[in-house]
Every structure is written in C-alpha cells, then in structure tokens.
C-alpha cells in the first residue's frame, strides 16, 4: 500500500505541475482531472474510501465539468476543426493518458491487495461512521454548508444572466 501511496503522490505532483504550466485550458483541465483522481487514490490508501468517492464524483466530476462548460461558453473551441486538431496531436493527450493508466493499474492492484487482506492493520473509516458524526455533533455545520450552497446558487444565477446591465 505504501508503494501505491508514493506513486500516486508522484503522479499528483507531476500532474499539478503540468496544470500550472500549460498554455491552453483544455490540456490543463485534463491534467487537473488526473491530479484529482490521484488524490482520490491517496484518500483510499489513507483509509478514507468515502472521501475518495466524493473526490472523484464532486471534484473530478462536477467541478471540472463546470470548468469545461465555461471553456465551451467562452468559445475557445468553437471552430469544428479545433477538436480534430486537438486529438490529432498526441502531445495534447498522451501525458494525461499515461498518468491515468498508471492510476488505473494502481487502483486494480490496491483492490486486489485489499481483497487478499494485505492492507492489514489500518482501520478504514467508512461512510456510516462519517454520516453518524455529520448529523450528530456537526449538524450546525451541515446547515451552514447548505446555506452556503444556496447563496452560491443564487449568486451564480444572478451573475450568469446574459442580460447584464452595463
């Protein structure tokens, strides 16, 4: 499990470095997805499977999709040939693809080792335990988080209107 952690850490750092050094947004987003998935694998090795699932669903899923929507709305790729040119150049997608394949291999290995009981001593903190505390002592924090999300929803709707007054 240690090897899985250190390899994921190396992938996360490398992918994050590539995120902040890319010129164009779409390759940077691909590397950002790889970085977030690597951190999800790290969460799994740390015994937090629920947080790993949330990381993959909310960060690598929802938040990155928001970024992709905005890149599309800004029309940075409105030319139909841009897509063909993007996929035609392996330099755009080969790096993220290799890193993602390494993560997949790690995940398969970790799941196999888990089934064989090789993870061993560390106790994973499951979703049920998190939920019980979340709706016990942390109930106020949950309500505050819901208010924050409502405020963000209203603000995003207000700011995102197309008929903005000048």
């Amino acid at each position: 499990m240690n090897a899985v952690f250190y390899l994921s850490a190396a992938i996360a750092v490398a992918a994050t470095f590539m995120v902040i050094t890319r010129t164009h947004a779409v390759p940077a987003l691909l590397y950002l997805v790889v970085s977030l998935l690597a951190i999800a694998v790290i969460f799994y090795t740390l015994g937090a499977p629920f947080a790993a699932a949330l990381e993959a669903i909310v960060y690598a899923g929802a938040i990155v999709v928001l970024f992709v929507f905005v890149v599309m709305m800004l029309g940075l790729g409105e030319d139909a040939t841009v897509s063909a040119r993007f996929w035609g150049d392996p330099a755009n997608w080969l790096g993220p693809a290799v890193l993602a394949l390494a993560l997949l291999a790690e995940l398969v290995y970790a799941l196999m080792a888990d089934r064989a009981g090789a993870v061993g001593a560390r106790r994973a903190i499951e979703a049920g335990e998190v939920g019980a505390r979340l709706f016990g002592p942390y109930l106020l924090a949950v309500e505050l988080a819901s208010l924050l999300l409502l405020a963000a929803l209203v603000a995003a709707y207000h700011l995102g209107r197309r008929t903005a007054k000048r």
Partner: protein, 102 residues
C-alpha cells in the same frame, strides 16, 4: 496508518499547496487562477484527511466534505464572475480587470 507516515502526507499536501499558490501568482489567466485555487483547497482537504486517518477519527473526512462544499460554491461563483468579466472586457487577463469598474 499502515506504514504511511503522517509527515509524508503533510509534505505532499504542502507541495500541492505551494504549486497551487505558484499557479495563482504566476498565471494571469483567470481560468488558470481558479484551477490553482482548486488545487490549493484540495491540498487543504488532503491535510484534513491525513490527520483524520492518523488519529482514526471521522472528523477529518467531515472537514474535507465542508472544504468540498466550499470549493463547489467558490468555483460556481468564480466561474460566473469570470463569464461576466469576459463579456465586459473580452479578455481573461486578470490585469485587464484591475480598474473594478462596471
């Protein structure tokens, strides 16, 4: 913690945070600045998870979920602001919006 030292996880979180901070400081493209902020929030969440795993408590994961909520709210408002800035200024350069005039 089956062998993964807390120090190493915290070191990883520090490196990721530093990379995100460097991204905010050196990039002027607003999309890249928002992505770097995501990386920084993620590093903070990693530190919470590591601490929760070290002491075997669920609180670390709860804090991570609150960070996750914050990140979702931040990115939705940030991207809406980014769209408005692009509509007004036709540019994603952070320096183009330095005058704060509507």
């Amino acid at each position: 913690m089956a062998g993964i030292a807390l120090d190493h996880v915290l070191l990883l979180a520090t490196v990721l945070f530093a990379l995100g901070l460097a991204g905010v400081l050196i990039r002027r493209n607003l999309i890249f600045m928002l992505m770097s902020i995501e990386v920084m929030l993620n590093a903070a969440g990693l530190a919470f998870i590591a601490a929760g795993a070290r002491w075997g408590q669920a609180d670390g994961q709860i804090m991570f979920m609150l960070v996750l909520t914050l990140a979702a709210a931040e990115v939705s408002v940030g991207l809406a602001l980014l769209l408005q800035i692009y509509r007004h200024l036709r540019s994603l350069d952070a320096d183009a919006a330095r005058l704060l005039e509507g």
